[in-house]
Amino acid sequence: MAALLFCLALSTGAFQIPISGVLDTLAGQGTRRDTFVIMDVRLPRVLVALLAGAAFGLSGALFQSLVHNPLASPDVIGVTMGASAAAVTCTVVLGVVGAAVSASAFAGALATAALIYVLAWRRGVSGYRLVLVGIGVGAVLSSFVSYLMSRADVTSAQAALVWLTGSLNARSYEHVWPLLIGVSILLPAALLLARGLRVLGFGDETARGLGARVETLRLSILVTGVALAAFATAAAGPVPFVAFVAGPIARRLVGERTLALVPAALAGAVVMVASDLVAQRLLGDRALPVGVVTGAVGAPFLLWQLAGANREGRGG
């Protein structure tokens, strides 16, 4: 499915290129024009979508199973809001663009997560305290973002808003490489930690009884999840709800009781690429930021999920 969408995304656009042409080009046999359009314009965008989607999905799955709450994805609890605050500061106050914005978003996400973790620490970090502190910190950061937006002139504020929504427009290889490196380190790390995550799922007491070092384990899972979200946000902006929906979709596909990290990553990638395709085509020639689509699809899904979780008493 991901592969199919990948080819579809490369083949459509202002220049239609048939799937066979796409495959030829990827194999190095394409015409000059096809090669330019695909390799230089579309491929980076699609790669960013794919990788960022996977990173968001994996990050969300890690958070959700760590906190035992389907609602505790990095975008709900304020981590990506830290990235936004840093990036908007960069755009609006310092007036920089490009790679520096990504770098500041990355740093912002890490710093915010560290702050949330420290504030939630009280002889260990419990899931609900992490979530609530995250919501509080997120609220402050979002009012800070609104403040910066109210100060800026309309044009740069609107540029910042596009970034804040999560956009894949004008992505190039400079966005792909850091993301690719990040994901290729963090994905194996996440898979290694999956066993520990399963042990933590039995509850802290049992996990300790089984010889797990609970706090260290929790911290490493958290760091992995935050780093994934940070890489993805740095490349694509805080695309809403991808992290949130990927986990539940993956669990539904492979069965309720599994961790499903790899399926979550794949689900995230599919959601992201598909949403971007829709976002580019929806209004004809006017490309919307991808975050508008994920937001519109993710929001009702979230409400439904929320209602379901509360009804079954898993809401917290």
Partner: protein
């Protein structure tokens, strides 16, 4: 009672400060003169009458509304973390405001107050409705998550509309910070009837919330009609929050912080918590507003930012407390 008089004294002091302090420094003598013998041709008098007095009046109204709404919300949900901002009411008001501006082409502040009001009401119902599903009713974590999640959902719809309409965006981003600046006296006058209705509904709430605090079963055994009590409280919250948010934009953490301070002074009796909150909250809001004007001269930091910076540590401290769950 002496405590309440002290609180009123504090409020009076802050009110005077709010009229006296600003980007343009005006001497106390001129201030008194402006209040007693207003001359529209004098620039200082004009500043006081057209800018600072309405601003202070709006601050008083919004503050009192948020304080009472926060206290009622906390009592109603028996939830120490309830606050109109954190529970998504602001996001709902914002969404309907944007729809009002963008779809219906409303340009005057007096026009879109109504939309903010409807949005607040509608979100309050959704957030509480979702948070209260399930066996254990609305626990703090469930409500806070519902609030955050619904906020995120509504905010992304808001963004989608705003991105395609730069005019709406420009209006919106100024409203979205939470500010008392630029609200004229007519607007305060328009909001007043709503706030009076809210205040009248709030009067019996003290007794009702005291009963609910005992738990539904005990309250029922004492002859209290629990459902009716909840409905009255909810109506009070919606009217007060909706009006306050439409007036001043999203101001978070005032409704969260003040009832806790009030509770520290009065103990758990809501018949006292409510009046204390009604007095202390505008004092906090005006103080924050004055602070925002003083620290960033000649510009100003909007009151919503200052209250967030003041309120967030309180929120974190509450979360860290062990007996967080119940009030």
């Amino acid at each position: 009672m002496p405590g309440l008089l002290g609180a009123l004294g504090l409020l009076a002091l802050v009110t005077v400060l709010s009229v006296a302090v600003g980007a343009k420094s005006i001497s106390p003598a001129v201030l008194a003169d402006a209040l007693l013998h207003y001359r529209p041709d004098d620039a200082d008098h004009l500043v006081i009458h057209t800018l600072r007095l309405p601003r202070t009046a709006v601050g008083l109204l919004v503050g009192a509304a948020l304080g009472v709404a926060g206290a009622v919300m906390q009592g109603l949900t028996r939830n120490a973390l309830a606050d109109p901002g954190l529970l998504g009411i602001n996001a709902g008001a914002a969404l309907l405001l944007v729809i009002g501006i963008s779809v219906f082409g409303i340009t005057s502040l007096t026009g879109y107050v109504w939309f903010g009001f409807a949005g607040a009401a509608f979100t309050a119902l959704i957030v509480y409705g979702i948070g209260a599903l399930g066996r254990d009713r609305a626990t703090p974590v469930k409500l806070a998550l519902s609030g955050a999640a619904v906020s995120a959902a509504l905010a992304s719809i808001t963004t989608a509309i705003v991105l395609t309409d730069s005019d709406a965006f420009d209006r919106m981003r100024l409203w979205q910070v939470g500010s008392l600046a630029g609200r004229d006296a007519a607007l305060a006058g328009q909001a007043l009837p709503f706030l009076i209705v809210g205040a009248i509904i709030a009067i019996p709430c003290g007794r009702l919330l005291n009963a609910l605090a005992l738990g539904d079963d005990v309250a029922r055994a004492l002859g209290q009609r629990v459902g009716a009590a909840r409905a009255i409280g909810a109506l009070c919250v919606v009217v007060l929050c909706g009006t306050a948010t439409a007036l001043a934009g999203p101001v978070a953490f005032v409704g969260l912080t003040v009832p806790h301070v009030a509770r520290m002074i009065t103990g758990p009796d809501y018949r006292w918590i409510l009046p204390y909150s009604a007095v202390l909250a505008p004092a906090l809001l005006l103080a924050a507003d004055v602070l925002g004007r003083v620290v960033a001269r000649p510009g100003e930091i909007q009151v919503g930012i200052v209250t967030a910076v003041i309120g967030a540590p309180v929120f974190v401290a509450l979360v860290r407390r062990r007996d967080l769950a119940e009030l």
